[in-house]
């Protein structure tokens, strides 16, 4: 049987199953869980997957959770429909069908690997100081889901120190091309482990999100680079680009699905400005025009960024607004950092081969003109 046909069948079947299960059984369970009358596998699943429920059910009414539960099914339906649509489209569109194909120069991968791990050193070097911070506030330790599943309790100081040293050492080894693949795996594990402690105090933030996604894919790029000679498979770079694009897309979709276009209203924008009290933000908030325009531009940027995957020669159209967007969150909301990893990972959208050729031309051109002076 055709593999693609099995996939279609599986997707349609899961679509039907999820909808039937939800509308005929699980939806009625939401109320039972809310009032604390249910003790089924479903309520236990909610407790595990959605630990904030315990807090949020005291803040919000039942309708909030019914809406949230409906959202799960709506989002699932949308994603399944998009996947089926993409598969059907891939049959007709050459560009989509060959999305995961293609090659890049090995030298391009070399440059990316070196720059990326230099970036990891830059972003992680200060994590050493945070070990003390973790230990200081360890009384508030509440493990994230991954740590709960793995039964990771708050570790002794030396384990955090070893994890830190592993991130730095592995990055250096990869930069100097010494056993890069095992060190890239080791570095990723240490990075995920260490970073998990930042989020094990009841709050997750997104400063390192795209850096984390890239970190997860990097071992594949290193492996592919080690296998190839002059040219290597491009797919790990494409996968990294897709992860970055999806991060923006889901940020935008999350706003639309949660709040609709009302999110881009000046009232909501001003609320967030007032909450963070950044001086430039407070000045901007005085203007009706800017308070109305800026959130709409931000939403448009997030929702359209994925087009970068198909417009290879016009990437600057997305990268320049991307830089402005992140600068905006720093200056208007006091969130993030000027040298944010979100901008740093744009290196994966730069064609280093072309840049190198241009630099070589400029360099040889200057030598040439010097010789003739």
């Amino acid at each position: 049987m055709n593999k693609r046909l099995i996939l279609y069948f599986g997707l349609v079947l899961s679509f039907l199953m999820v909808n039937l299960l939800y509308f005929f059984y699980l939806r009625s369970q939401i109320e039972e869980i809310y009032i604390g009358r249910s003790n089924t596998w479903f309520s236990q699943l909610i407790e595990t997957v959605y630990p904030r429920f315990e807090v949020e059910k005291k803040r919000f009414d039942l309708d909030f959770f019914k809406y949230k539960a409906d959202q799960v099914v709506i989002r699932f339906n949308v994603i399944v429909s998009v996947i089926i649509g993409l598969f059907l489209l891939a049959k007709r569109s050459k560009k989509l069908d060959q999305f995961w194909q293609g090659f890049i120069a090995r030298q391009h991968a070399d440059i990316l690997i070196i720059i990326f791990y230099c970036g990891v050193l830059f972003y992680c070097h200060q994590w050493w100081m945070d070990i003390d911070v973790f230990i200081n506030r360890s009384v508030f330790y509440k493990p994230i889901l991954l740590f709960s599943i793995l039964h990771i309790s708050f570790p002794p100081e030396w384990i955090l120190q070893v994890a830190y040293v592993m991130i730095i050492f592995a990055s250096l080894m990869i930069i100097f091309n010494i056993k890069p693949f095992p060190f890239s795996v080791l570095g990723t594990i240490a990075f995920i482990f260490f970073q998990g402690f930042y989020y094990s105090f009841e709050k997750i933030d997104h400063l390192y999100t795209t850096l984390t996604y890239v970190m997860l894919v990097m071992p594949f790029l290193v492996l592919e680079r080690n296998r190839g000679k002059e040219y290597i498979g491009k797919w790990p770079v494409t996968l990294i680009q897709l992860c970055i694009a999806l991060a923006y897309l889901f940020s935008g979709l999350e706003k639309l699905f949660t709040s609709g276009f009302g999110w881009a209203s000046k009232e909501t924008f001003r609320h967030y400005i007032y909450l963070h009290q950044a001086p430039i933000g407070l000045t901007i908030a005085e203007s009706d025009f800017l308070s109305s325009l800026l959130p709409k531009l931000a939403l448009l940027f997030q929702l359209s960024f994925f087009l970068i995957l198909f417009l290879h020669r016009r990437r600057w159209i997305f990268l320049v607004p991307g830089i402005l967007f992140h600068m905006g969150t720093v200056f208007l909301l006091n969130i993030g950092a000027i040298f944010t990893p979100w901008i740093f990972v744009y290196i994966f959208f730069v064609d280093w081969g072309i840049l190198q050729t241009k630099f070589k031309k400029i360099y040889s051109g200057s030598i040439f003109s010097e010789r003739h002076q």
Binding site: I79, F140, F250
Partner: protein, 125 residues
């Protein structure tokens, strides 16, 4: 070839799942921060801690005084409040204070819009 397919499936699946379930599944993230339009009063809710010393003077405790970032602080306060763990929170907080013996009381305040209420007075002994 199998590695490629698995890597693509796990990464894209990992990105999609938090969006569908609306939860963080670390190392994959949900982007729900700032996604809510503010239309409920409860969304403006904030918590504060005050210290009261032996002379009776009251001072706002800044999170950095106990080595916690502002954003983390807000979540910790709110979550403990809704879990009915105010005393637990304040007890833990005392362990992070440099000179708790200077103070007689830790006071937890809840603010919605411009209304503030005292949630709990914790006597430091």
């Amino acid at each position: 070839m199998h590695i490629k397919k698995w890597a693509i499936a796990i990464m894209t699946g990992g990105l999609v799942l938090p969006f569908i379930l609306q939860v963080n599944i670390y190392p994959f993230f949900r982007f729900g921060m700032f996604a809510e339009a503010v239309h409920r009063e409860i969304q403006t809710e904030q918590f504060q801690i005050y210290t009261i010393d032996r002379q009776g003077s009251r001072k706002l405790l800044q999170p950095d005084e106990v080595g916690i970032s502002k954003s983390n602080w807000d979540y910790l306060l709110r979550n403990h409040y809704y879990r009915n763990e105010n005393v637990v929170f304040l007890k833990k907080l005392r362990t992070l204070m440099k000179e708790p013996e200077q103070f007689t009381t830790l006071q937890m305040i809840r603010i919605i819009q411009s209304d503030s209420t005292i949630v709990y007075n914790f006597e430091l002994k």
